[in-house]
Amino acid sequence: MRPSVQEMIAQSRGKRNKKVIEKIIPIILFLIASVSVLTSIGIVLTLIFETITFFTRVPFFDFITGTTWLPFSNNEAQFGIWPLIIGTLKITVIAIIVAVPIGISAAIYLSEYASENVRRVIKPVLEVLAGVPTIVYGFFALTFVTPVLQAVFPEIKIFNAISPGIVVGIMIIPMIASLSEDAMSSVPKSIREGALAMGSTKFEVAWKITIPAALSGIVASIVLAISRAIGETMIVSLAAGSTPRFDGDFTGSIQTMTAYIVQVSKGDAGYGTTIYYSIYAVGFTLFLFTMAMNILASYVSKRFREEY
């Protein structure tokens, strides 16, 4: 015969380990949740400690003000970070010039004009575009975009800032489009319908109602995209070259912060050399740049949000 409910309850009261489990589980889960915090602490401490070692060999002042990056020279190695920062900025500027108009136009089209069926086709395609590995984009930049650019502008070299800049821009289009579209879609329908009822055209609704109302989200999406462009590694490693330079030339080989880290890592700079520590100093600089952008993005989206 099966035990009655009362008996089952009495039985389970007897089991002590149930109470123990209820007490232990939250602690275990808390420890698991703290792994992400430990990761952040690990990143910051790693970068700080190795960067401090770097600064015992290279003066801090030379690093942040120097305009020559010449780490591989045997007798006159120079570690001035600015050429790498300029290289990163060149890529970022081109990427933003490409991605912002296209990304925001796509967002406006999806949120204001497209029918439900069209959205159902385009959004997954944008997701695919966002899911393409960056190494594939890098290959595309090197073997397609660069030759096409060279055919039109013969002065462009094999390694240049324009081609990887354009492709980084293509890479961040989905990010700007989908985050901006989220911001635009969260503008209440009633406001839009009010404007339409007053005789506005759809373009006027988009331009005068939706964009101003969603501006904080749109700006935040652009700032996040800038952060992604600054941290992008493989496209620039493959297609931008490895010549750190402090000038305004976009047509020749350049080097970004991320590409320098890759260049050193795949070579065999021995553990403990100044070059080895320099990748942490560059990584730290990169980390500060992206962190500043991420904080700016969350500040913009919180501080300037329009509440309805």
Partner: protein
């Protein structure tokens, strides 16, 4: 008194309608331009790489000669990598999500953990590589093994999995929870027997998408020092290995034209792996969508 001057309205109407029509097509053209980029990219890669794709390509090791080069070591290496990354990142990610959604009190520590997760998602992957190099490769002396790379990748995709799992858990209706408590179940029993089964489709979808990001990531592997030319298959998690994106990177950066076709063939294999993973995610999402 007239509020609307009919003449002005009529005069302006034409220009407004034209502007509306023009901008509609500008926005549409921009959207199509983004889609066109994807089409060109896929077309280029398939047309360049399809000729090199063969059974030999899948079963050969890397070679100095483009026509003999194969992707076997990289393909197997990537699968090994996933065997470390999948359990590590899913256990850590789902555990964190359960803690944050079910146990965490609204206090400073909790909001710090939340803020920390969203910041971690914005850290460039190459910086994760530096973390892996210092902590796993050097401090824990794992070398450039599958384990070191796997742990690094797990931390890289951890924020994505946590957020996906949090959303899945949050989507479980409150009535299910209340019914379970009403029947006398404890909190942990409710989580294991009610909430997790209901949230698993969402968790799986998010995890597969995160894993497909890990399989295509290159930068952390380069920083860790994962080699490219490997003529053997790994036999355990402490062995050195190479992975698909590493192999593709190596082929792409060679000056010979022939290797670019080999790289394109490698990309086709990588994209095929990604596509099948994404299809599984979509199937799971559609099959279990809106059960409640």
């Amino acid at each position: 008194m007239r509020y609307i001057e009919q003449q002005t309205v009529v005069k302006r109407m034409n220009g407004r309608l034209i502007a509306n029509a023009i901008f509609k097509y500008i926005f549409l053209a921009a959207t199509l331009l983004a889609l066109l980029a994807l089409v060109i990219l896929l077309y280029r890669i398939v047309s360049q790489g399809a000729g090199n794709l063969s059974i030999d390509f899948l079963t050969n090791f890397a070679s100095r000669f483009p026509d003999q080069a194969g992707i076997k070591a990289a393909l197997v290496g990537s699968l090994w990598l996933m065997m470390v990354v999948a359990p590590t990142s899913i256990i850590l990610g789902v555990g964190s999500a359960i803690y944050l959604e079910e146990y965490a009190k609204q206090n400073r520590i909790t909001s710090f953990i939340r803020m920390n997760i969203s910041n971690l998602a914005g850290v460039p992957s190459v910086v994760f590589g530096l973390l892996g190099l210092t902590i796993f490769v050097r401090a824990m002396a794992l070398g450039n093994s599958i384990l070191a790379a796997g742990f690094t990748m797990s931390l890289l995709i951890l924020p994505v999995i946590i957020v996906a799992a949090q959303e899945a858990i949050r989507a479980v209706p409150g009535e299910l929870r209340d019914a379970s408590y009403g029947m006398g179940a404890t909190k942990w029993q409710t989580i294991v027997n009610i909430i997790l089964p209901a949230a698993i489709p969402g968790i799986l979808t998010g995890s597969i998408l995160a894993l497909s990001r890990a399989i295509g990531e290159t930068a952390p592997l380069i920083v860790i020092g994962v080699p490219v030319i490997i003529q053997f298959l790994p036999e355990g998690v402490m062995d050195t290995f190479t992975a698909l994106p590493m192999q593709i990177y190596d082929w792409s950066s060679r000056p010979q034209q022939e290797f670019q076709a080999v790289a394109a063939a490698g990309i086709i294999v990588l994209m095929a792996v990604l596509l099948s993973m994404n299809s599984i995610a979509v199937i799971i999402r559609n099959k279990f969508d809106k059960r409640y």
